[in-house]
Symmetry: C2
Subunit: 204 residues, 2 copies
Amino acid sequence: MSIPVVDFWFDFGSTYSYPAAIRAPACAAKIGVSIRYRPFLLGPIFKAQGWDTSPFNIYEAKGRYMWRDLERVCAELSIPFRRPEPFPQDSLLAARVAIAGRNESWHDDYCRAVFRAQFGEGLRIDDTTVIAGILHRAGAPASWLEQAGSDDVKRVLRTETEQARQLGIFGAPSFITPDGELFWGNDRLDTALAWAKGTAAATA
Amino acid sequence: MSIPVVDFWFDFGSTYSYPAAIRAPACAAKIGVSIRYRPFLLGPIFKAQGWDTSPFNIYEAKGRYMWRDLERVCAELSIPFRRPEPFPQDSLLAARVAIAGRNESWHDDYCRAVFRAQFGEGLRIDDTTVIAGILHRAGAPASWLEQAGSDDVKRVLRTETEQARQLGIFGAPSFITPDGELFWGNDRLDTALAWAKGTAAATA
């Protein structure tokens, strides 16, 4: 019986995607499910909803709540938290590098390291030096920064974003189970994993 | 040592407040915390955010997701689910009756029964007959329907709604712990209860 795979869709600038990305591998392994990181861009999806920035900036009370809640969530997971400035960060460069390296062994470490740099250390992920440092620590040659600028990578990132929209994704993190169920939010990660495991067992 | 009380703020028309209201008493009792139902009106708070209806109606993908997710949540809790029409319901009458009876023994049963009627049976909670039936089954005389129309009740409901806004509440269900921490959403109920218990223990 093969291990069910849950797609973990996220934008690198998404706040709650940080704790979700960090804890996902252990949660998934514990329950016997595999996760696949699928970066996309929330910007075009937000724009279609009439937003030109994060809803956490547009709706003040919601934003104030989110920052306090994220602080609590990180404390509970014992992971560092530092609010990045500006928010949201431009996640295009980070996403393109991830797409370029999507079949490489360093891909998952890189994804988590981008989140840690941004929300754990308050670094800017639109800074080429920051991304180069992350690649270096993940054991990837700096040449991936150039690959990230290729037409192919740009096309794939656009396609991934369009696919996210077509799957009904409207925020991040979002999880899609093998049978197509969507779960939204860090709080729903465990439910998504249990769903994937349960339906896999039921059809085995 | 006294039992900590968590305020459970909700609008009777709020979808995720239904499972939260139903499961809250057992969750709270299990952990040694007490909950207090605090109905208010989301309408004025949404209006201040520029919305003239539920965000689940304004943002189509989010709404589609919510209905499916609510169905799954109810199935997991083994509580009935039926999507009410129209959505959102006008929750003013239901809220005024709850405010009128806020110090009565039937208050909590009434609150849960309104949610069950609406989201479990698909009934209209702006229908006086529906509310009268709920009062009757909760053992409350029908005269409470008249009390609900008093100036005092109207004033208290406005005050409660304004207090919710001042507490930073922007959606429902929302939970406020004795030390003033806000937790938003059915998914965060258990965290709010644990927080209340933990800080109470720490300061005992």
